[in-house]
């Protein structure tokens, strides 16, 4: 037993105390923590606001109709006010969503949004309307989009042509006309969007007015806020949001998946290394193959557990920051640990068996194919299970090793967790699977570690299992 510990300890330190591991496991989340604010900062560093004119050719033939509406919208002040308003609306919406996920945070976010609104208004493009005569030559007007403005003469950024039937329907037609927009090359897409949006609004406004409707009223008629669904459970009502419903299973599953497969991968490479470095026999003169394999699996399990703890710790910290620890049920964390063990021992014993049978990582590829399929299966089945955690598919897969831990973790953290008997049965089946797999792996390992030469195929591995 002591020897198993020594093997495990070496395996753990040799894995964890490497630059690759420390960078991969600790630095990447750290970079993300630093990079997100940095990205936000960089985005907030905007270039000076765009300045120029938007030319209009009104072909409706009714000069007093849409032109005043356009002229009113295309002044620097009106544009700034509009940009500020829509920034505030977007901010309020985001704050509302955030408030749903994390009470208290939304309010703070809202004040931050207020500042953002002000800055958005200040950074709004300075656009002025330039109304061209109705019979202006389109080609000539377009030419102006090619020239840079001189001092005192503002640049023309865009040319908008309002079609004749844009406001008043042509005789017998069922559709209205619209408008064309020509822009200068490389004009910021947001500015383009702003121009199109404002012209659309102006045309719409004019249409409503021309058809005797009150624009404000129509708008309020058209507007309806879509509420969140409220789940009625025995323990009370709670709002469910689709995002929330997906995030927890996804997070739990990814945690399990990443830690298990990173650990498994480490085990595979370290076993292959011992074999290709010809150190295996030295080790086998001191420990039995079974102790060696056990020690290696335990050591890598500790490394994988370190990954799991770091990442779930980060997740918990961010939930605490968002004051949404109610999303995590503590017994689920415990069960995550249990299913981690089951998944890890399963995958690790497969990896140990393969690692022992081959001499280098390339030879491992062919044998890895069936495992990779197993590995990808939870990923493929993830969405169906998240949407329907109680489906027959999900229930059946809960009892099929080696993917049952992944399926159970998805179901446990979903909005409708499985009954207790299913959880217990899944653990029992998983444990049984692990025992069988460990025995099979031990047989392959014992023969494989001393086999050099032609890499074995699956049939050979099966023969080894029968032989031992």
């Amino acid at each position: 037993m002591n020897k198993v510990f020594h093997v495990a300890w070496r395996e753990f330190t040799a894995t964890v105390l490497t630059k690759g591991f420390l960078i991969g496991v600790f630095l990447v989340p750290l970079i993300m923590v630093i990079a997100i604010p940095a990205a936000i900062f960089l985005v907030s560093m905007k270039p000076p606001p765009v300045q120029g004119t938007v030319a209009f050719i009104d072909r409706t033939g009714t000069p007093g109709l849409v032109v005043p509406e356009l002229a009113e919208r295309f002044t620097p002040e009106a544009i700034a006010a509009h940009v500020g308003r829509s920034a505030k609306e977007a901010g309020d919406l985001a704050a509302k969503e955030l408030e749903k996920l994390s009470p208290g945070q939304g309010k703070a976010a809202q004040s931050a949004m207020g500042m953002a609104t002000a800055s958005a208004a200040a950074d709004a493009p300075r656009l002025e309307a330039e109304v061209l005569p109705m019979d202006t030559d389109l080609e000539a007007a377009k030419q102006a989009l090619l020239f840079e403005g001189k001092d005192g003469v503002p640049r023309r950024l865009a040319l908008v042509v309002i079609e004749p039937d844009a406001v008043i329907q042509a005789e017998g037609a069922t559709r209205f006309g619209a408008f064309q927009v020509f822009v200068r090359a490389k004009l910021d897409a947001r500015v383009q969007g702003l121009i199109r949006g404002q012209v659309r609004e102006a045309v719409l406004q004019t249409r409503l007015a021309a058809n005797g409707m009150e624009p404000g009223k129509v708008r309020s008629i058209m507007r309806i806020d879509v509420p969140d669904a409220i789940a009625v459970t025995s323990s009370g009502e709670k709002k469910t949001s689709e995002v929330q419903q997906m995030i927890m299973p996804l997070a739990f599953m990814m945690l399990l998946w990443i830690s298990v497969f990173t650990g498994g991968q480490f085990l595979l490479t370290s076993t292959i290394e011992e074999k290709s470095n010809r150190i295996m026999e030295v080790l086998l003169s001191a420990v039995s193959p079974l102790s060696l394999m056990t020690g290696k699996i335990i050591g890598q399990m500790a490394a994988a557990l370190a990954i799991l703890i770091v990442y779930s710790g980060l997740g918990i910290v961010s939930l605490i920051v968002m004051a949404r620890m109610d999303l995590v049920e503590w017994h689920n964390l415990l069960l995550l640990g249990v299913f981690f063990m089951l998944a890890f021992f399963m995958i690790a014993s497969m990896m140990a068996a393969i690692g022992s049978a081959v001499t280098d990582i390339h030879e491992a590829q062919t044998l890895m194919t069936p495992i990779m399929i197993v590995v990808m299966l939870p990923m493929l089945l993830m969405m169906p299970i998240i949407w329907n955690p109680d489906s027959t598919l999900a229930t059946a897969l809960s009892f099929i090793p080696p993917i049952n831990p992944f399926v159970m973790v998805l179901r446990l953290s979903s909005s409708s967790p499985p009954p207790l008997w299913q959880t217990l049965l899944s653990i029992a089946v998983g444990a049984l699977g692990v025992i069988v797999m460990l025995k099979v792996a031990a047989k392959i390992f014992r023969i494989g570690v001393l086999m050099y030469g032609k890499p074995p195929n699956l049939a050979t591995l099966v023969r080894w299992v029968r032989m031992a």
Partner: protein
């Protein structure tokens, strides 16, 4: 007599259709230094791995250090496998400590022990070096330390001399000798007969999975009587007259040496004065059968005709004589 360090009886091991070791009996008395010789693929490594309980025999009984298997006495056995390596990224000091711990050595004084060994083998500055930074010879020394760090009672070395340069070969011979004098039982396998001849108390030869020889070097030599006399001929040497002598069974003319194989029962030493006076020679000597000769004789004995064997052995000798002369 004390319990033998290794006692194998009727051991057989097959890999698929191939019989690697067949009906092998081997007793290694405690405190002896035994050389296991045989051509490549003879079954030496398989026999050693079975002694180490790394693989298990299909049939037969193996007792190691008085226990039913090496599993129970692993910590008292030092083993240098034929396939040996180091962790590339692991530092030498921690590696040796790790191996020692696996062999049940206490942590107390372990560091001093490791440093002491490194110093003795001229590797004192390597404690903190990764093994990939070491030369091949240095790595082999580290591997040797790994096999003796726990002061085993039984030391098993599989092809310890392979890949070593003459300087390191000599160093290893000294180390083996030292371990032997400290009372340890040592078994090593080699296909370099001269190493075995120089070092061993006892020589065991394995061929095609079977033991074909098990004796002391002296006894082996006396059993295979010298029956040849070699000449370095001077001008006017009469080879035809030599062939005509009744005691001479055959003559082989090499590039610089001529070898006369004597008939059974002829005393080679007694023939020297007669031959020296009858023929013009610069040098004349009795050819002592080396272990190599014995080895080749046994190997060739299976399925080879008398004449083929004769030619082969004479060729080996003549070659050796040439290289000896060239080296002078």
């Amino acid at each position: 007599m004390a319990t033998p360090a290794i006692d194998m009886r009727g051991v057989r091991k097959t890999f698929g259709p191939k019989v690697a070791v067949d009906d092998l009996d081997l007793a290694v008395p405690a405190g002896t230094l035994v050389g296991l010789i045989g051509p490549n693929g003879a079954g030496k490594t398989t026999a050693i791995r079975m002694v180490m309980s790394i693989i298990f025999p299909d049939r037969g009984d193996i007792r190691v250090l008085g226990r039913a298997s090496a599993v129970e006495s692993k910590d008292r056995i030092g083993y240098l496998p034929e396939e040996r390596g180091l962790y590339k990224k692991m530092k030498v000091g921690p590696f040796l400590k790790y191996v020692a711990r696996l062999k049940g050595v206490d942590d107390a004084g372990l560091e001093t022990k490791v440093r002491g060994w490194l110093e003795r083998l001229g590797l004192s500055d390597c404690y903190r070096k990764k093994s990939e930074e070491l030369s091949k010879g240095m790595q082999q020394k580290v591997q040797f330390i790994a096999s003796v760090i726990h002061e085993p009672d039984l030391l098993i070395l599989d092809e310890p001399f392979s890949g070593l340069d003459p300087v390191n070969s000599r160093l290893l011979r000294q180390l083996i000798d030292e371990q032997h004098r400290a009372g340890r039982t040592i078994v090593f396998s080699t296909h370099q007969m001269s190493q075995a001849e120089a070092l061993c108390d006892r020589i065991v030869m394995i061929h095609r999975g079977r033991k074909v020889l098990d004796n002391t070097p002296g006894e082996i030599r006396s059993r295979f009587d010298p029956r040849s006399v070699a000449f370095e001929p001077a001008d006017g040497f009469d080879a035809a007259a030599l062939r005509a002598m009744p005691e001479v069974a055959g003559v082989h003319e090499g590039r610089s040496m001529i070898e006369a194989r004597l008939r059974d029962g002829v005393d080679a030493a007694g023939m020297i004065p007669r031959l020296a006076s009858s023929f013009r020679v610069r040098r004349i000597e009795v050819v002592r059968p080396s272990l190599e000769d014995v080895f080749i004789e046994i190997v060739q004995g299976e399925g080879a005709s008398e004449e083929e064997r004769e030619a082969l052995m004479a060729m080996v000798r003549a070659d050796r004589a040439t290289s000896d002369a060239g080296g002078d």
